[in-house]
Subunit: 256 residues, 2 copies
Amino acid sequence: MAQKERLDAIRDILQSSPFVSLSDLEKRFPTVTSMTLRRDIDKLEARGELIKVRGGARSMKFLTSSAEDNFGKRLYEATGEKSKIADAAAEMTAEGASIFIDSGTTALRLASAMPDIRATVTTTGPHVAIELAKKQRTIVNLVGGMINRENLSVSGMQAMKFIDGINIDTAFVVPSGFSVECGFSCGNYSECELKKYVISKARRVIMLMNSGKLGKNLPYTFCKPDEISTLITDSALPDEVEKFIKMSGAQIIYAK
Amino acid sequence: MAQKERLDAIRDILQSSPFVSLSDLEKRFPTVTSMTLRRDIDKLEARGELIKVRGGARSMKFLTSSAEDNFGKRLYEATGEKSKIADAAAEMTAEGASIFIDSGTTALRLASAMPDIRATVTTTGPHVAIELAKKQRTIVNLVGGMINRENLSVSGMQAMKFIDGINIDTAFVVPSGFSVECGFSCGNYSECELKKYVISKARRVIMLMNSGKLGKNLPYTFCKPDEISTLITDSALPDEVEKFIKMSGAQIIYAK
DNA sequence: TGAAAAATGTTACAAAATAACATTTTCTAT
DNA sequence: ATAGAAAATGTTATTTTGTAACATTTTTCA
């Protein structure tokens, strides 16, 4: 019976306060041990009524209301470069298309920015696939193969075979580096091979590159600008780079 | 710049997972100190993007939208039993083996409980693959194919082809239901087919079943007790069930 | 009533968080 | 280009917190 009263009291406190410390509780319930109070907190956490944090517990009520506030705010905050690029890319998708999306964080942003359309999306990124699975209408295919633990993407022989079996209308590819001399490059051989193959099979290739990648060369070049249709980036490219890419026949979109 | 990338990465992780531990982050960012990662977490907490908890951080997104996202919810359900089962299963792995791990939350527990051995692990669960990728020695293969959005697992023709190309020493399979009459069953046709195929190819089949699945029948039966080597469960089975399974020649392990 | 289960207490130990200061990197204004 | 400021990161020692494991008490209910 004693336990029930304590639990109720803790609940009450957390209705009017966003946090309660263990020492507060000790003062309030001097007849029981701190261990007992910890166990009370554990119980309430298991029921989802609060969140256990260092030194005490936070009120679920206050957490959810502040979370909603933040969500509204974030809509007006300047979104990061990657999100801008992703938003621009998301507009280039179409109902009914067969779409390929690379792995990586930029790709992940694209996945969450994608509209919920009736399209088939194939990806090499497990995270991307998980994000895409939240859509209701989109069919999601995950490429099989060996996982590269550095960047959590799939590649290798099995992956090549998988790509072999599909057609691609639009491929969204993310490089790790770009320079005029070396083109688009990445740091892993089998990934490079896979990207090459995807690009060769895709009707339209859209490269998503945030400006941080500019001027970086990685060991394996998988593509030159003349093989892509569009480059989406966040900030203005140096003149000679822009000229070079346009000469190669690719369109440049500055996402903002 | 480096900091920004880390913050983005942490944000990303917490978009698809309800919790990230500090040690996860240490593995992911081996170039910086844990102190730096703590400070990153502090920053994000100050912005209301996550909640700092002992050992890591919890996703604000999952706290608020856990009702919609039943996968995240299930992670915290039946935690105890599933971990016990996973721990017992983890002991049955061996260096050099070719191991298959199913998808699902129990499988995810197994993935994190697995020792870091030189083995090849193939899985149908993207979450499982991501978890396994944290090991240093283990080679991780992700089966390719169509994603089932209910339980985030891969199946379909492409997946069957993938399984076709590999050999399996030990398969850890997780059913959605079991009864004496119907055997081990699951709720999805193509998944059922895949499990069947995996079981037929595996030298040794270990079924991981928490007691909550007992007595449940789902539409598709993929296996009867006489096809498995071992059943790992958390609490004592009713006598007649235990008898039936042992008569089929399977070993029963009670995890505790 | 008398076992089993639940609640609580005790203690020792392990883990995690913090503080405070040192060092490095990055930015900025001249 | 560079000095100085500010921000980011590293280092270490210390304190706090959490947990595990087991002992004891209380409650439940067959």
